[in-house]
């Protein structure tokens, strides 16, 4: 498998881990319904389980984006042969894409970046009305579409 495809697989794996975590959250809810003090013997309280379930999607969006960022930084360094550390906004929008990247795909990946930044910095607030908000499946689609346009000669 070429490196680009391996990187896409890592993003897809995070999406599948999210599905596993969601299932685990449902099982946990059943366990808590049977025994509300279930967490006490494991060092956590019931509210932590509620927070886990509420935050699980945003947690995996952040993880998925971390894979994406690592991919672009590796590509910049090892394929472009650059030692600089530009901001992700520059890397994603201007430094990496060339004429064979559809602008919509760049914009979609950038919208995921903006949403991820919101989750990291303002997670307690509601997203602003002009911000696009993503499910894990949508984020995966947009980030993998972008990675899919990286040069397959990348080793």
């Amino acid at each position: 498998m070429i490196k680009r495809q391996r990187r896409m697989q890592r993003v897809a794996d995070v999406a599948n881990e999210y599905l596993a975590a969601s299932s685990a959250g449902a099982l946990l809810a059943q366990a808590l319904a049977a025994d509300p003090n279930y967490g006490d013997s494991h060092g956590w309280q019931q509210r932590h389980a509620h927070q886990f379930r509420r935050n699980v999607e945003r947690t995996y969006i952040i993880r998925m984006y971390a894979e994406f960022e690592a991919t672009l930084r590796d590509y910049w360094e090892s394929f472009h042969g650059r030692e600089t550390h530009p901001r992700m906004e520059q890397l994603l929008n201007r430094l990496i894409p060339d004429q064979h990247f559809p602008q919509d795909w760049i914009d979609n990946a950038d919208d995921v970046r903006v949403y991820r930044n919101f989750l990291v910095h303002d997670a307690e607030e509601e997203p602003p009305v002009d911000m696009a908000v993503f499910t894990i499946a949508e984020a995966k689609k947009h980030l993998c579409s972008y990675i899919g346009r990286l040069d397959p000669r990348w080793q």
């Binding site: 394929f79 004429q99 064979h100 997203p127 009305v129 002009d130 696009a132 080793q155």
Partner: protein
Amino acid sequence: MVPRREEFIQDVRRAVRHLQKPLVAADSDRVDTDDVARGLHRADHWLTPKFVEAYAPADFAELSGELQAELREAVEQFRAQAAQVPADQPPDRDQFEKGLHALTRLSGIVRRVVLDDWARAVETLIDQVERWADEFGWRTRRDMTRLIETLLGSYTLPVLQMYGDGQLYVLNPVARFVPGALGAMDLSIQPSFFLASVYRHFDGCWYANFATGPGINGTKREPLTKDSLKRAAEALRALV
């Protein structure tokens, strides 16, 4: 440097994208669609005269007189609606609805202009490449592909399959809106991940970008001609 005409077209595309953005992921459980609808009425990101600042009638002189007039009127209507929104506060419902109508009208005209031009450019290129392929002794077959882009919506364009020298090559449209060009196509060798990028520069000419060695520096850019098409195909063959 993006030509002024293209700058205007890209600005209209951006306005349309701003308008659509809150709807992009309305199926997410983090979005209350009522809130989005209310927010949409408050959103003033696209209702601003800056999106038509780059418009210059002379840049569209090749259009019919009727279409030029339609475009000019649509720009003026949008500019007039946007000018009514105070800079320091969001539009009211009436301003929003009139602004939405103006942008819908403007983007519809720009869509027609851009899509006609793009579809014609792709058709012309595919006709030309098909003739070159015939001269190489390659067999060709046409198909259609569906694309979806902001501003242009859903549309179809031809795809050219070429079988020659024991290989299958496919010339496939990618998008009209790409960085630094007026559209791009992939020339791929199947089955593989490898491709050459064929793109339409701001001068209206097609160029081919293809691999000649490893890394980003091992890429060559040439105007697309019968000879460079052959070289691009040979470079692709060397990769598989």
